[in-house]
Amino acid sequence: MAIGPHRTPDPKQGGTLGNVPILISGLSKVYATAKVRVVALQDINLGFEEGVFAAVTGASGSGKSTLLNLLGGLDTPTSGTIEVGGRNISEMSREDLALYRRSQVGMIFQSFNLIPGFSALENVALPLIFSGTAKRERRKLAAEMLARVGLGARTSHRPSELSGGEQQRVAIARALINRPRVLLADEPTGNLDSRTSREIVTLLADLNRDQGLTVIMVTHEEALAREFAGRGVRLSDGTVQAEVKWR
């Protein structure tokens, strides 16, 4: 399976980053309401080299998803920095963060997060709307991307007409449509049976191996992580408990 993350870099997409190491230093995230103060992440220091397949594991509430949301530019840290390809995303404006999400990272989720009223093709093409790609071009690129994740025959189906595994493939196709260097996966197998889970993680591993795509996957299935990922980070109560290199 060949998914080319970068054939021709598009300068409109915020420029391509030749080498995209991810550096996290002193990262903390505190959710404070009037009554409660929840420390989700505390003083995280981590580095991910380009082309790595990393698994972030830990019990629920350990801060895995928070870390991924911060990496994905969906949330901003309370303190500390996240540098992606030399740019500090924790200091970006909302507008720049939107551009970062559109062009530098792709995200997939446990609940797939597809738009129910859109067909598979329209869901995959959605990010291209925001980058101002013409409709004909969008449909062509989205159809190609769906074919590459093995869903070439199901382009006009609504999410409700697809199986869980198929929906996650659509989500992967959508995450990669803008050819990012980094794919962030938040519990991608959480809603799938074990056979389908393996298929999805295999697809991620293939993308990582064949295209050099950096994949950071949050999961609580440690066995699956150990089988496919190159290295693992275990979080506990918002701090890094262990860092392992499996291969």
């Binding site: 949301n69 507008e95 939107a98 559109r102 989720f109 009223g117 959605l126 925001f130 803008n178």
Partner: protein
Amino acid sequence: MKLRDHIELSIANLWKRKLRTVLTVFGVTIGIGALVAMVSFGKGMQKNVTGSFQSLDLFNSLTVFSEDFMAGDRFDPDERPDETAPSGASPVLIDDTVLEKIAALRGVDTVFPDVRIPAIVRFSGKQEFRLVQVVPARVMSSRMFRFSAGKGYGSDEEDALVISSYLLKQLGVGDPQPALGKRIVISSIGFDLSRFNPADLAAALSGERLPFVMEDTELTIVGVAENQAALGPIPVQSDILLPPGVAKRMKKLPFSNIWDLFRAREGRLGYSALNVRLSSPAFVEPVKKEVAGMGLRVFALADQFKEVQRGFLILNMVLAAVGMIAIVVASLGIVNTMVMSILERYSEIGIMKAVGASDQDIRRIFFFESSIIGLFGGVLGFALGWAVSGVINRIVNYFLAKQGVPFIQYFSFPAWLVLGAIAFSVAVSLAAGVYPAMRAARVDPVLALRHD
């Protein structure tokens, strides 16, 4: 995002919630419809009045009064005393010398005295009381008159008259054409002025010592005039017009108002007023000045018309304000629809943000949706306002036609009203979309994606 994508995405989103979108658009439709009907009514009234002023040549007309005729005004506490008026001196009498002086002024086309005779008009067994107006034959050819049948009398001596279609109808004749050439009886009332003493007014009022004489004059109908609008003191507003030669031969009361009576006592019997027609509205001001210099009062309809225009401006604003209430209600409907839409599409907004939509993109999606509601509401609202006012117009005309009133277009739809209504609808909808759009743009993607 491309404009086309914005439009397509907005229409797709609106169409997903058909019933609610249709109801919201309908709300705007009613609001704009009400506004359009109100404004077009105001504009229609204004157009009719302006139109009749123009078609009746009223911008070219002046009425000249003697000072004492207007004496009543001096008792009006709101009226500033006119310093230019010759105080103490006896007022200028309007007689043929004055008439000829005014007729000689530059720009003056025709001058004729305002003479009205109280009379009973008898025709085909029916009778009506009217003030019969004496109008020279040469005025008949002016634009003031439009005939639904026949034409004006040709000479001042002809045994002829012009009757209005309105009076003819009152006398039981609906069709003017067959009335032409028929004889009509004018019973004028005369009395011996020498025997009248204003000191005996009490006795006069009780009907004693008033030796009235009725005299019948039979005249031929030569023309039936279209009904004259009776707005303000326009020069010709009588239902019966007679040539001066005929009027001279008739027995008649030598006055048509109380001031004539007092003048008659002083032996100063002039005309109560002169009707002056100018060759162009440009002469209104210079002639007014000249005539005022003779110690006479001048009334120009053109001046009155400015007041009328101001009145219409106020009327239009009041009508528009009433229409606005419906618009405000409709815009609240839009706000409600859009806020509901945010709640329903909360996770969708989160997804869009996660895949790279900026705050601006989200804001615009909502602005486009509300402006599309406004556009459809505006177009349909205009159509509704147009249709409803058309129906009202027909109904009103149907009932007025029975009373002899000719067909009138009560509503006017100038081009700016079409475009203005639609543009206004879109603008109001955009304003209604501001809050929902801002709120949608502020949706936190992390919370939105955790939503389900």
